[in-house]
């Protein structure tokens, strides 16, 4: 229970909160994805904090972080593919207009 671990967890909680605010309040798909990036960044920071201060000799902690980073990159790639397809069909990526899938 030292200062560094607590501060790391609080920072990750703040990132998580800002990410949720962004993901819920933005109308554009790209901005929503930015919010999701912040949420995942908070989770990553928590993972690294727990690895460093509680179990620094277990390499599986870093392995977990690698997998989460990989998943972040992948969901961005697929998300942008979907954004391109949507933009080609409708001309915008505003999520408010996407409430119903038919025009």
């Amino acid at each position: 229970m030292n200062v560094e671990l607590i501060w790391t967890l609080i920072t990750a909680a703040a990132l998580f909160g800002v990410g949720i605010y962004g993901a819920l309040s933005q109308t554009n798909l790209v901005m929503i994805m930015m919010g999701i990036e912040l949420i995942l960044a908070g989770a990553l920071l928590n993972l690294v904090g727990f690895w460093r201060y509680l179990h620094p000799d277990v390499a599986a902690g870093q392995m977990f972080v690698l997998i989460v980073m990989t998943v972040m990159a992948l969901e961005m790639a697929v998300g942008f593919g979907i954004a391109i397809a949507r933009f080609r069909n409708k001309g915008s990526v505003e999520m408010e207009e996407a409430a119903e899938l038919k025009e």
Binding site: M1, V3, E4, L5, I6, W7, T8, L9, I10, T11, A12, A13, A14, L15, F16, G17, V18, G19, I20, G22, L24, S25, Q26, T27, N28, L29, V30, M31, M33, M34, G35, E37, L38, A41, L44, L45, V48, F50, R52, Y53, L54, P56, D57, A59, A60, Q62, M63, V65, L66, T70, M76, A77, V78, F80, I82, A83, A85, F87, S92, E96
Partner: protein, 203 residues
Amino acid sequence: MITGQAIFIGFFGLATVWFGIVVFRTFSMVRSAIALLFSQTALGAMFLTMQAEFLGVLQIMMMATEMSVMAIFMVMFMMDPGGMGEMDMSHQKRLSLIAGFVSFVGAVAVAVFIDWGPVTITVVDTAKQTEALGLELLGRSMLIFETAGITILTAMIAATAVAIKPVPLTVNNSTTGDLPVGDFPVDSLPTNSLPAQKEDKAK
């Protein structure tokens, strides 16, 4: 007990959260993307301060490229990427503020009120860490690694397939060559080898 590491973690933590807030406060889209980039860089710097050197360097490297790609997608898709019109493109602001605040308070409560157990201060040397990570990756977690590899390949193929511009079928049901025509005396036309470039008019 405030050590040097605590000061750096505090500084970079504040930088991360501040840049994260700037992402949603600014009107300019490109500034938003670059602010997210520097937020992730500060996060990578926090990893480096916590002596997870490989992870920190990896985070810094990956996020620079990813956020720049995000920046160009902003410019492609948004109607005001420079933010000069100062439009407010958000909805359900109160709900999202409440949700964000509640999640922040909840996470902080969990962090502060749980006893995490004994804290280990010393870490192994970073070169040995990298070696241990490599051995773990190709030893015990080999299955996870291979699954991740297959997932990456699938995602790449899926993203490319979704994003490819469809070429309409033309006269002889071929996607290359020949002009896209209806009932037209095709035999009198000279054949050319240009692919049909008329998808926009078909919309």
